[in-house]
Symmetry: C2
Subunit: 344 residues, 2 copies
């Protein structure tokens, strides 16, 4: 089993996720309807932290709930458990093994707050520490770089949004086919060509706005882990507050800019970047935005904006893999890192 | 007036901040004692976002309050105002002009939530939109790169923590002298030498843990804005979840690692990085940690861990300025960016 196999397995993993742990989701929704919460707190590290960023937009836009990303060090370094009254506390971890994530969830549960674990290993410390457990059902993930556990984590969050009363299961059911379309289309050829073009670059800016900000963050992490590139992810709005100073002719910029409400705010910056001579790669389902790019990476159309981050990361996983190879690295054996990282 | 003048003015700016807007802080504290909140939401962009990260640790560790960094796009792009019940909503902006930050605060106020603006311009849209206003009193900041408005923002947050009942004003009063000590010591010689050593590097990893994570973020932004270096900031814990793959012999790593509870978790990683041949610069008041570094950047001792981020950024502001010069750039005229950025 290789990284590539796991990337290709994502439509199937998504189908399994859609069928996983329905009772736990229903029970959590029941509790939240009896005891509403004012906010959500999420503890996660690495790739799972990007699923948490996705959740900030999902629960913010669709449920008007502020979502705080927990700073586990508050508990593990300074020994202080925040008060989790009227909060749903979610821990997300592929392995469920990192002590810092588990200890935030355990502290919340001991305060009586509703707690949810999203993990690929129900028997893990995180899986056992939460009151409610949604299994990723991604199947064993052997590659060090997380791929199918990321997209299933996002889908689990989207399912929670639906059981909380916004949207229909039929919308979710379109995701596996969209993943298939993303894997079957011309996107892989486009990212292979991009990887050849950028093999000698040590730095890359990754930009997105709104729901896709999670994709920018996750894509940059994959580029670091696999291709050892200094990939710097930004929300397009934050990028204008300073880091825009990095832009010069030829600088590689990867923009995740599919159609939707965020695109109207993003496209003036994209035009400005193109005018300043940046080497622009664009991931989108919008021909007019793809036309701005030197490297156009097409996405399948017809996916609702709020679900599209589950799909748009897929060509970027392939990109990180191809860029690693183009740089003479083995994407199956990233240096320095292990599958399970235990931080306290 | 130059960037360097504004960096050197910080002890004086801190003294002005300590005397600024005492009535507003007292009135806010009174309201919060009558109507307690369960969480804090902060809207900010760029440098001010790093003051918000500092606030996550201050209010988490010292008041057990979860702190959410607002994703202004939820409101400005998707048109959804989160429910801010039982939240204190804070907007931080040097200019107070960015519409996205102001609109989050205005939405919260219209819901009846307590709102606080922290800004250098009380007459700005942000200053006028909040119920309570703490003026930075940093004096006019003319350099594009924010320095004294950053340290005064942190100090304003620390003052709020004290009026909310944790700590004594006398503790805060030590900060201006500590800023003077940081500016008068050998730190500037050390960062000049570091800048000469790294002038040809296009990338740098910046690491910290706990309270100092804000310093890592802000320092990396200054390096991007002024020196146009791909400076990548990480919490030391998140760094182990993937980006550790970037480490190779000679890679420049800047670690902010002063004494305190966070150091015990951080120092094993520092020893590992040194053993792997990284070009390690360390900012610390602990001789044993400074001894690990090729470039030791000393901090004055005696500053409590929770207040030290106000001081530890100072040599790193000077470092970004010297690195810009060593790279042939003018730190007074960063490219592409302006003092006031308006994002929506």
């Amino acid at each position: 089993v290789s990284l590539r196999d796991e990337i290709l397995e994502q439509p199937e993993a998504a189908r399994r996720q859609l069928a996983a742990s329905p009772e736990a989701l229903a029970a959590l929704a029941g509790r939240l309807s009896r005891e509403p919460v004012d906010s959500i707190v999420i503890a996660a590290r690495g790739t799972s932290d990007h699923a948490a960023i996705y959740a900030q937009y999902v629960f913010g836009v669709r449920h008007r709930l502020p979502v705080a990303l927990a700073t586990p060090s508050v508990l593990t370094v300074y020994g202080i458990a925040p008060r989790f009254e009227r909060s749903l506390v979610i821990g997300i971890s592929q392995s469920g093994a990192s002590p810092d994530v588990g200890s935030v969830v355990a502290a919340a549960r001991s305060q009586g707050a509703p707690t949810l674990a999203i993990t690929n290993d129900p028997a893990s410390p995180l899986g056992r520490s939460a009151e409610y457990l949604v299994e990723l059902a991604a199947g064993p993930e052997r590659a060090v770089a997380a791929t199918k556990t990321y997209t299933t984590s996002l889908l689990a969050i989207a399912r929670l949004s639906v059981v909380l009363g916004n949207g229909a299961p039929a919308e979710l059911a379109t995701v596996p086919a969209a993943l298939e379309a993303a894997l079957a289309g011309e996107a892989e050829l486009a990212v292979e060509s991009l990887a050849q073009d950028l093999a000698g670059e040590e730095r890359e800016v990754v930009l997105a706005r709104g729901f896709e900000y999670a994709t920018a963050r996750e894509s940059a992490l994959k580029l670091k882990e696999l291709a050892r590139v200094f990939a710097d992810p930004y929300s397009a709005a934050d990028f204008e507050h300073g880091p825009l100073a990095l832009v010069e002719p030829g600088i590689p910029i990867l923009a995740i800019a599919p159609g939707g409400l965020a695109l109207g705010r993003f496209s003036p910056l994209l035009r400005r970047l193109r005018a300043s001579g940046a080497n622009l790669a664009v991931v989108s389902d919008e021909p007019s935005v793809l036309a701005l790019a030197r490297h156009a990476i097409p996405l399948p159309g017809g996916v609702p904006e709020w679900l599209r981050p589950i799909v748009s990361i897929v060509p970027l996983q392939l990109y990180a893999m191809h860029l690693a190879r183009a740089r003479g690295l083995d994407p199956e054996r990233p240096v320095n890192i292990r599958k399970v990282t235990l931080t306290r």
